[in-house]
């Protein structure tokens, strides 16, 4: 009796799923009609009726803003964790002998700064999105020597990075080459910048790959990073790309026509237009904070924007989810271009 | 066998007071009294299920005690296996099942028995091993008249054959009259009167006993 009930229940579940699908399709078909704007040729063919994706007005498409606005520069740096760093445990007591795979970290960093890796990074996504996702810095440090192969002890490299980096798919694309050539296994932990750096400070990472200059400099100042042989700085910046300001097609704040990105931000604030903030102390978040007019007094502290909550939405989640939110709420958002392109190309989903 | 004096206090109230006692093997002792008079408490204390106030042994440790509670548990197995929990003696099991007329239920799941059948199974189970002192708490409460009579005869025969001491807690005066050699009458936790059946049940000395007999009637 029970067996039969269970099977019936399973069938009912499947049936409800299928029947539910039919209804769902009608509603979304109306909504996108209002907002539909296909920004690029390739998206038109891929959009099915029920997915409302493409309503982002991409400010960066205005060529002038992209080139001139250093304010939106997003630099990626890799830092090696120093085993002699002043690690402290949860109570604040100093901890000795924290295990850090320096050999592995060295190998990975050397490879990332090699011609091979830089080329791969620069090429990444070009074909798929018809746009450059990552640029190699002209003054990036370079490595030309021999990279040590993996040994039993140094095989596992713990890389702590941010969700933005990981979600762009860059690491997934280039690291297998490194792993194949030298025999290492790279374990990637991705989290918001704050948590990514904290992981290193807790002795859980061998190197970090982040894009928040102020936090990187603090990391170095606190003594957690080390200088690799042959290099000058603890902070090895090698890639960059641009943030872009995105918003609804209608662009009620007139951001597209603003002179600079900071003027755009001012317009958004003045008009109290919905803005989605990462709110998680990430590199993107810190950059966004720096673009608001000073009088507003917006900082990473929640109290600073308590008065603006009707339009300033602090989401505290990953870039993709925030983009989804911007989509739903027809709001403005600062995002890195790689994530945005992936988001759009996949019709609003990644 | 000798029973040391003991008492049992529960939540501040003394529910049982038992003086020192001597029990003779082969005899059936009936424990009677109204509800709440302490009969079951007595049974549980002697069986070792409740600890007495005195916290020491009330019986000599080399005396084996068997006990059948008022609510007997039917384990999740068939009747036969339940009975084998008492002991693995096949022949004895067969005989007991026959005597208690539950042979036909041997392979039946014990959970599906009626009240009377469960009681018979529980009784058979506890009779599988020969104890020096066998305490039965209202064993025939769930049985009909015919089965009760059957059980009583079985118990009397059993007692004579094995020479055990049978302590039978019962709420039925008639049962006591039929079966007992000696009777303990309890009133509000105190052993008011004890002695031979003829004495306690037919010509009691104490007032409470007389009142009890009159109330519960012939």
């Amino acid at each position: 009796m029970k067996k039969r009930l269970a099977v019936l229940l399973a069938m009912a579940m499947m049936a409800s799923v299928f029947s539910g699908c039919g209804k769902k399709e009608e509603a979304p078909a109306e909504a996108p009609a209002v907002e539909t704007e296909a920004p690029a040729e390739e998206e038109k063919t891929e959009v099915p009726a029920e997915e409302p994706a493409k309503e982002e007005a991409v400010v960066v498409n205005t060529v002038i803003l992209k080139e001139a606005d250093d304010k939106m520069l997003n630099t990626y740096s890799v830092l090696a964790v120093d085993p002699e760093a002043p690690f402290v445990d949860a109570d604040g007591k100093a901890v000795e002998g924290v295990a850090v795979n320096t050999a592995g970290a060295d190998a990975l960093i050397q490879w990332l700064l090699s011609e091979e890796a830089k080329t791969l990074a620069a090429e990444y996504g070009k074909e798929e999105y018809n746009d450059t996702l990552f640029y190699v810095k002209e003054d990036a440090p370079a490595f030309e020597g021999e990279i040590a192969k993996a040994t039993e002890e140094t095989k596992t490299i713990r890389l702590s990075t941010t969700t933005s980096v990981n979600d762009s798919g860059l690491l997934g694309a280039i690291l297998p080459v490194f792993e194949g050539e030298y025999g290492y296994t790279v374990e990637i932990q991705s989290a918001g910048t704050g948590k990514a750096i904290a992981a290193a400070k807790n002795g859980n990472a061998d190197l970090i790959l982040v894009h928040s200059k102020s936090q990187e400099e603090a990391f170095v100042a606190e003594g957690f990073a080390r200088v690799l042989e042959g290099f000058e700085s603890e902070r090895l910046s090698f890639l960059y790309n641009y943030y872009v300001l995105c918003g609804p097609t209608e662009d009620p704040a007139g951001a597209a026509s603003a002179a600079t990105v900071m003027d755009a931000f001012k317009a958004i604030a003045d008009g109290k237009h919905v803005f989605i903030s990462r709110g998680d102390n990430s590199g993107t978040h810190t950059k966004e904070i720096s673009l608001w007019p000073e009088e507003l007094g917006i900082t990473v502290e929640p109290e600073s924007f308590a008065d603006y909550t009707e339009w300033y939405t602090s989401a505290n989640t990953g870039m993709g989810a925030c983009l989804m939110m911007a989509e739903e709420m027809e709001g403005y958002i600062l995002t890195d271009k790689a994530t945005f392109l992936t988001f759009v190309a996949n019709n609003g989903v990644m | 066998m000798k029973i040391n004096a003991f008492s049992k206090t529960y939540e501040g109230r003394k529910v049982l007071d038992m003086p020192e006692m001597e029990l003779t093997s082969g005899k059936i002792y009936a424990v009677i009294g109204a509800n709440g008079s302490g009969k079951s408490t007595l049974a549980k204390c002697l069986a070792g299920i409740l600890t007495t106030d005195q916290k020491q042994q009330i019986l000599s440790p080399d005396i084996s005690v068997g006990y059948m509670p008022q609510k007997s548990y039917a384990f999740r197995m068939n009747v036969e296996k339940n009975i084998f929990l008492g002991s693995k003696d096949l022949i004895r099991a067969k005989k007991l099942m026959k005597d208690l007329q539950i042979e036909h239920l041997a392979k039946k799941s014990a959970a599906k028995l009626s009240g009377g059948e469960t009681a018979r199974m529980a009784l058979g189970r506890v009779l599988m091993k020969t104890f020096d002192l066998l305490i039965l708490d209202e064993p025939t409460a769930a049985m009909d008249m015919e089965t009760t009579s059957l059980t009583e005869n079985l118990l009397m025969e059993y007692c004579r054959e094995t020479g055990c001491v049978l302590l039978l807690v019962t709420h039925s005066l008639q049962q006591a009259r039929r079966v007992a050699d000696e009777v303990f009458f309890y009133y509000k936790g105190k052993l008011v009167e004890s002695g031979k059946k003829e004495h306690v049940l037919y010509s009691p000395e104490m007032e409470e006993t007389q009142k009890f007999l009159k109330f519960y009637g012939e």
């Binding site: 445990d89 002795g203 989640t317 989810a321 988001f343 | 609510k71 007997s72 999740r76």
Partner: protein, 228 residues
């Protein structure tokens, strides 16, 4: 929703290597943690339900409190303990399936204990009296009691398994959701959702629930057999 279902089916049919890895890590973790919690918790629960001793009610209160521990708190505690700077950092258990199992056992054990204790309390007194009356030893009584609970043990296992497979707070913290190593269904769903890929998240969710359903059916059938 239809796209989610289509995606789910497509994923399974494609036998996507990463999905297979996620499924196998999930299976390894959930089965291990629920079984370990069961093996440890059933005897403890039965013991708690059948004994009577001073301090018993305190133990029960502690157990009940532990039942309500938020998984993310549990994850945090283990993260701090096994972190590079933590007391057990040297063991290198962080970001492994082993520590995920450990954290989950700690979460699920109180539930198993609580479940068994509640059930056993109802029958323990009578069983013990009957067993003692028959002259059975303490161990024999314990095993008899366990035998009485078999049906209950099965349903408790279902509960343990369901808790384990649906849990995300603790395993994401201590496991790090590392691709090909410690990524399970729930953390994968969270990752996709955070990236904005909601429909893939739902697709995975459907797969997860189907697995749960299958396990439920299997064990319910087993329960039925036991009860015959």
């Amino acid at each position: 929703m239809q796209s989610a279902l289509a995606k789910a089916v497509a994923l399974i049919l494609s036998a996507d290597a990463e999905l297979c890895n996620i499924l196998s890590v999930t299976a390894k973790m959930s089965i291990s943690s629920s079984l370990i919690a069961l093996i440890l918790g059933v005897p403890i629960g039965i013991w708690l339900g059948s004994s009577r001793f001073r301090g018993q009610s305190i133990l029960l209160i502690i157990n009940r409190t532990l039942m309500g521990m938020p998984p993310v708190v549990c994850g945090l505690i283990f993260y701090m303990l096994f972190s590079g700077v933590g007391p057990f950092g040297k063991w290198k258990w962080l970001f492994s399936v082993r520590i995920m199992i450990l954290a989950q056992v700690v979460l699920i054990l109180p539930i198993v204990v609580g479940n068994m204790e509640t059930y056993v309390t109802g029958i323990a007194q009578t069983v013990k009296e009957t067993a003692k009356g028959l002259g059975l030893s303490g161990w024999k009584t314990f095993f008899l009691l366990m035998n009485e609970c078999v049906y209950q043990i099965c349903s408790t296992y279902l509960l343990a398994f369901a808790r384990s497979i649906a849990e995300v707070g603790a395993v994401s913290m201590v496991g790090g959701a590392i691709a090909w190593k410690t990524n399970v269904m729930t953390t994968a769903i969270m990752q996709y959702t955070n990236r904005g890929n909601f429909s893939l998240g739902i697709a995975l969710g459907l797969i997860l629930m189907t697995i749960s359903l299958v396990v439920n059916i299997l064990i319910s059938v087993m329960q039925r057999r036991i009860n015959r």
